[in-house]
Symmetry: D2
Subunit: 153 residues, 4 copies
């Protein structure tokens, strides 16, 4: 038997999913503070990019793990949000991050996709790549996360 | 720009990788105890399967999360082991598991592949699917794990 | 200011919490299979013990990480279950385990306590110690986990 | 038998541990950017505090999970660093964070302590509390993390 695929494509339950995701993202002041932009929004998939910035580093001059986490956490949360019904909000419950290579590069690209879009809980996985001129994208982080969805007030 | 791929194919550093992986697996008495078999060994990828067994369940009759963890942990560890040099041993440092759907089914398939094969640390991701007659494979768990590699005694 | 404590003591919402926990544990066939017993049940805290058994090992003769995970996952789930209202069931959503020292010893003790008992989600932390004659208990694993609670059918 | 304790007190291998920790922390530009300060450094334990800042929020006005992660990740890394020998550096390998309550409050306190200080790998746990006038500290996040230690160049 061939290996099963794990990414299933589902129909968004909210036809305005892209608008609501982009509007919510614009209210995340942290994303503006760190210069992050949302570069892709599709049902079950979101991509966020940010440039290197020397004000966001750890002791060796690499981007701090918490900032790399910020962009991939937002990517995972919004990937889940693309698949929730209208009038729902999402909130990250937990995530785990492997810091696979040092976060050096000119730009960082976080991509996330939904593994399961549940009624109350969604599960996402994310990856972050560093982009440097003259090199291919380098995997620097991987995330698995759980997102809670609920009726918004 | 198109999205970067995260799975890179690397050459095994040990030409006898399959033999050493299968030999080590045969020494994991737990795998025998739970009826698990290694059904695929390739550079950077391992697959382990186990049938449903009523002696391995939690309170609702589904396979216990710790057993699902056992097969995907072994798959991740051995995926890393396919890429280590000769005379090295591997040991799981940590893992995180999302239990995405209840572990009901006739058979469970854990697949793992290496995200990075480092000198001291390797990073793997794994998935577990439940197989039931008349249904497609269903994703029941996802793992991210860290594996330590070192010279064996 | 002194450091805040993180363990809060709460009243169980179900006066029969111990009975329901022990009854559910008795239905986890895996616990019987691996010889695990529940040795402490208090509001927000559960302890599970198991002896070493050569049929549950990984390649070096230590207890397999998935079995260590099994006892601390059950301990976390039942710690959460001590604090849920009557007619609710619990289900682990995810956990992360650090394998801190090799699981060698004569007996293994998993203890778990609740960090937050929420309406839908509870958060627990667990530790596993190895016990060997002539030595003090040795920390071999730590878990953080998320447990979902819902009305049972 | 009484429950074993999991926090062991060890002697620092570097008498200048506090100075090296504070010096490295001062080079984490992110900590300055977010207004975080190191308020406690002891062998195996570090505390970092940051005030609420509206430029660091997610869509609901709470502090973004990635920023909460940043302070507890730094606290864990530096807790490990207090116990490494001279001429070593530390690097986070991975962490898992449970977001237990929304990050609202006037100040956030991250505390971390070492579970095991190994030759190559250390394991830490951290907690983050929100402080609000008129309320006791509230647990908002818990972390388990793995830190790699190696000879610095």
């Amino acid at each position: 038997m061939s290996s099963p695929k794990h990414v299933h494509h589902v129909e968004p339950k909210d036809p305005d999913f892209e608008q609501k995701v982009r509007e919510s993202f614009s209210r995340q002041t942290l994303m503006t503070t760190i210069g992050a932009t949302m570069t892709r929004v599709e049902p079950g998939t979101v991509e966020i990019r940010m440039p290197y910035d020397a004000s966001l580093t750890q002791q060796n001059g690499f981007i701090h793990g918490g900032i790399i986490t910020s962009i991939v956490d937002s990517a995972c949360g919004y990937a889940a949000f693309t698949l929730t019904p209208p009038n729902h909000d999402v909130l990250a419950v937990e995530f785990k991050v492997n810091l696979i290579n040092p976060a050096r590069g000119e730009e960082f690209v976080a991509t996330a996709h939904v593994l399961k879009a549940g009624k109350n809980l969604s599960f996402c996985e994310g990856k972050v790549f560093a982009i440097s001129e003259g090199h291919g994208p380098k995997l620097i982080a991987a995330m698995l996360s759980t997102i809670m969805s609920r009726m918004s007030d």
